[in-house]
Symmetry: C2
Subunit: 217 residues, 2 copies
DNA sequence: AATTGTGAAATTGTTCACAGCA
DNA sequence: TGCTGTGAACAATTTCACAATT
């Protein structure tokens, strides 16, 4: 196995994965520019991190570097892609076709990253049956069957808070393992489900706190 | 000063602020239900955290609790609102009125949270002059003057990666201190600027890694 | 009796610094 | 010589556990 985890007790954190994802983005740029090697400090500069952080992260997954030269772009890129599971397209469903859902349906970066919104669901009968950016909108009542039949594992949740928990329960029961949640609501699920929250209003709380701090400083 | 920082060397991390923001959301619900007191363990349950975490976080900012009873909802809510700077409306500008920018202009949760998009900017002449959800779209060329004149401190950046760094430089030069960045790009700024990234494609990297892990487990 | 606030302990994450390799 | 990989040092964060308080 080429991306064999080294048998040490170093823990792979979600932060390491987040950073790998940044490294991959930089490696993609290097590939475009036909750059053959990149050092940990170059990777660090591109990602606003430190060189030792880069080396630690990469060393969790293997010995990818070449002493004296750095990392071979092509090889490292392939390894990181495999680690992150980006060597194949990623199939997801979208639940909720409001303003945000609509925007996500035409979000070009998803295609670029191999993320395919296979179908969408909504409660609004006027939307059901239509297609946006070639994605069919179905009745939410069909979501459970669809997930089971198509073995979907990932869902984007872009619905109002008040129904978020109930819909989550349905999705998880049907087999969804990962949810990207846009509702401003803490979702409860059993272990074995991964939830990532995109909580736009909350982001501004950092800002207002930060600005107030600096004004009083 | 009611929210006086206690003079201890305990550090207030961005994570504490993120959690305060969750507590506030729960406190808002309590207020609606006319609940008078809430304990650290109730707050913990609502936010998927631990009771000691809740107490530690709150104790960074003051002694808000009452031994034996918990926290007075009304008082704590007011304190946390002040800490987070949510006692006044928050004025922001939007840069980039593509699909995502459009969705943000009609995102109702912003209004609910007191976040006001004061105006928007785009390069596309066909959009300039129009108004969406009562927000005027202006030519990007005017952004620097607008920021200076209106003393804007917070910007939402919803433009393509390739121009993200250049536009960021302009915004920061004009006086912007906080940027909510939707471009899949690591932005470089001098210290004193706070950048928060909403990186939608990257969220899926967690998912595919997680799914692969569980399949091999 | 119940619950806070908080030092101390445990855990997790980051940086340092350098041996070893190409 | 230049750069990786990594143990050890350091720093930050979380959890524990209990005295103090109402």
């Amino acid at each position: 196995m080429s991306t064999a985890l080294k048998s040490k007790k170093n823990k792979i954190s979600q932060n390491s994965i987040a950073r790998l994802s940044l490294y991959l983005r930089e490696l993609n740029l290097c590939e475009l520019e036909h750059k053959k090697f990149i050092s940990s400090s170059e990777l660090a500069r591109a990602t606003n991190l430190t060189d030792s952080q880069v080396r630690k992260d990469l060393s969790l997954f293997g010995n990818f570097g070449v002493s004296g030269s750095g990392y071979a772009v092509g090889k490292l890129r392939a390894e990181v892609k495999t680690i992150l599971g980006k060597d194949k397209p990623i199939d997801v469903i979208l639940v909720g076709v409001g303003n945000l859902g609509l925007a996500l349906l035409s979000y070009l970066d998803f295609q670029r990253e191999g993320i395919r919104i296979r179908t969408a669901f909504d409660v609004d009968e006027r939307k059901v049956g239509r297609a946006i950016s070639n994605v069919q909108i179905r009745n939410i009542a069909e979501v459970e069957n669809y997930i089971k039949k198509e073995k979907m594992k990932i869902a984007i949740l872009a619905i109002p808070s008040h129904s978020a928990q109930q819909v989550t329960d349905t999705l998880v029961k049907a087999g969804i393992k990962c949810i990207l949640n846009f509702a401003p609501k803490v979702l409860k699920t059993a272990n074995g489900t991964l939830i990532r929250n995109v909580d736009l209003s909350r982001e501004f709380d950092f800002f207002t706190y930060f600005i107030r701090q600096n004004n009083n400083a």
